[in-house]
Amino acid sequence: MLLVVEQFLNGLQFGLLLFLLAAGLTLVFGIMDLVNLAHGSLYMMGAYFAATFAAWTGSFLLGALLALGATLVLGIVLEMSALRHLYGRDHLDHVLATFGLILFFNEAVRLIWGPAGLALPLPAWLTVPVPILPGIHYPAYRLAIIVVALLVALLLYLGVMRTRVGMLIRAGASNREMIGALGINIKLLYTLVFGLGAALAGLAGMMQAPILTVQIGMGENILILAFVIIVIGGIGSIRGAFLAAIFVGMIDTLGRAFLPNLLRQVLSGAAASTAAPALSSMLIYLLMAIVLVVRPEGLFPAHRR
């Protein structure tokens, strides 16, 4: 029981983290039609910034805030210097150019921070176990991730659906020429959206940093998961990304936790322990394959023009 609740919460936490990443990716794709492979690099930069600023200031929270700002600025600089020249080009061009950016970021991090990873230690008040049910404790930090991510999801929803900028963003997604013609500064709007996506990726990176080590290439594995989520949820759909992210987070976490035991019921011990790791890492791809067979456009496709 204890294990089930704990793994369930772990799945939720991982899923919400994936949502932050997938939301930025799908926002940028849905509005600017830009495939940004370097999104994972922004996630990595968020983690490195957080570890560095936290060490400088001596405060975890201050470090996190500074890192958030730094990732936002980095995203804006990146958009203005390189990516804005790619709008309207072939998707393949996006893939290649941002692939080049990944090489660049990984190497820049190696140059600045060295090849060894960094650690981002948690402050004492975030390491205490919190009682959530009678007799069941859950780490405060993981709980904090769940709360922050839910809050961001809510803000994102309200921001996109209820504010004037959100209205422009939605309008830009459905017809870019028209909102340009209406006198909206679409260049600025795109830069802001990209900065927002970068900040979301940075937030995910810095929140994950205390759990895993901060290391080169950390964004690449998780970027693929974000892709899977977008494919399952439907490209350009924030709602789809949210639901698919939680689904994928759950399946991945629960699969890793319980599949070995489940397999041991059917297979011999040796066969089960061989098959379980491979099978549990395949699980979400199998899920994606099934979704594709049933609905090639994803489960919750955004309205296409």
Partner: protein, 314 residues
């Protein structure tokens, strides 16, 4: 009729260089260059196979490195289990790649555009994780191939020169095959699908079936490159399938010139030599390579072949 074409001249020079390379290596005593170019030729073969679906078929597969791994693991696993004959290893490698391509292609071709890019990418990552989980075959650490494929004395893969020429022969064979395919009725249909799928379907061609066959042929060719690669490094690991490797292959195709017969070969030679050259200047070579790619995308349309073509026109 053109009397002289720069791109043709460059291509001919490069091919002549590739054929004569072992002679240069022998005369100069530079063994390293032969090892380097064996790897380049094998990856050029992989890039050429990707170009078949990407350049001619318009299918942007971002998971092509998976076939490198599958071909390699077929050789490695069979060697581990005591089956050393290349006459068994290579057909198994090709068949395994073909089957994987058939399944992945059938699923991925249900989608198009950027979905297709992401799905092929994700499925290749799946292959990567599966290989990482194969504890019996080295898992994360990879699998050492203690003995190269044995072709009953016909070709000795441990002999550098013979192995190089085998790889080069495979590359030329594959390019010849691609040339035949592209100019066949089948190839014309696939190219027609690239430019207007709806129209081709309206004429009555079963679009997906043509694309799937092309996808499988391409994957099988890349599996051959994988089997050669495992023999070249005497080692195969999940890293061969990592998605950045697929990105490398894509870069080679684009850099050389997508949809041209010899473009991917030129792209592979230039990209890998550049990598070699930059890594000799600085440890942080990717710091230069990354922005260079960005610049090539922004300004170098049509790749090197396109550039040579423009030179020709004056």
């Amino acid at each position: 009729m053109k009397a002289f074409s720069v791109s043709k001249a460059v291509t001919a020079l490069m091919l002549a260089g590739l054929v004569l390379l072992p002679l240069y290596s022998y005369l100069s005593g530079n063994v390293f260059i032969l090892t380097l170019f064996t790897r380049i030729v094998i990856l050029a073969l992989a890039a050429a196979s990707l170009n078949l679906i990407m350049g001619f078929g318009g299918m942007m597969s971002f998971g092509h490195a998976a076939y490198l791994g599958i071909g390699g693991y077929a050789v490695g696993m069979l060697a581990q289990e005591g089956v050393g004959s290349g006459f068994i290893q290579f057909p198994v490698a090709l068949a395994a790649s073909a089957i994987y391509a058939l399944v992945i292609g059938a699923l991925s071709l249900r989608t198009r555009g950027v979905y297709f890019i992401m799905i092929t990418l994700a499925f290749a990552q799946m292959a990567y994780y599966v290989a990482s989980g194969l504890a019996r075959y080295g898992g994360d650490d990879g699998l050492t191939v203690y003995k190269r494929s044995d072709f009953s004395g016909l070709i000795n893969l441990s002999n550098r020169t013979q192995f190089y020429y085998l790889c080069l022969a495979c590359l030329f064979g594959v390019i010849f095959l691609i040339w035949r395919i592209v100019n066949s009725r089948f190839g014309l249909v696939v190219q027609g699908l690239r430019s207007n799928e709806q129209r081709m379907q309206a004429i009555g061609f079963p679009a997906k079936r043509y694309q799937l066959v092309c996808f499988v042929i391409s994957g099988t060719m890349c599996g051959l490159a994988g089997a050669l690669l495992a023999n070249n490094t005497d080692f195969v690991s999940p890293a061969v399938m990592y998605w950045t490797r697929s990105g490398d292959l894509m870069v080679m195709v684009i850099l050389g010139g997508m949809g041209t017969l010899f473009g991917p070969v030129i792209g592979a030679v230039v990209y890998l030599l550049l990598e070699e050259f930059l890594s000799q200047i600085t440890e942080y070579w990717a710091l230069i390579m990354g922005p260079l790619l960005l610049l090539i995308v922004l300004f170098g349309r049509g790749g090197i072949m396109g550039l040579l073509g423009r030179l020709n026109r004056g």
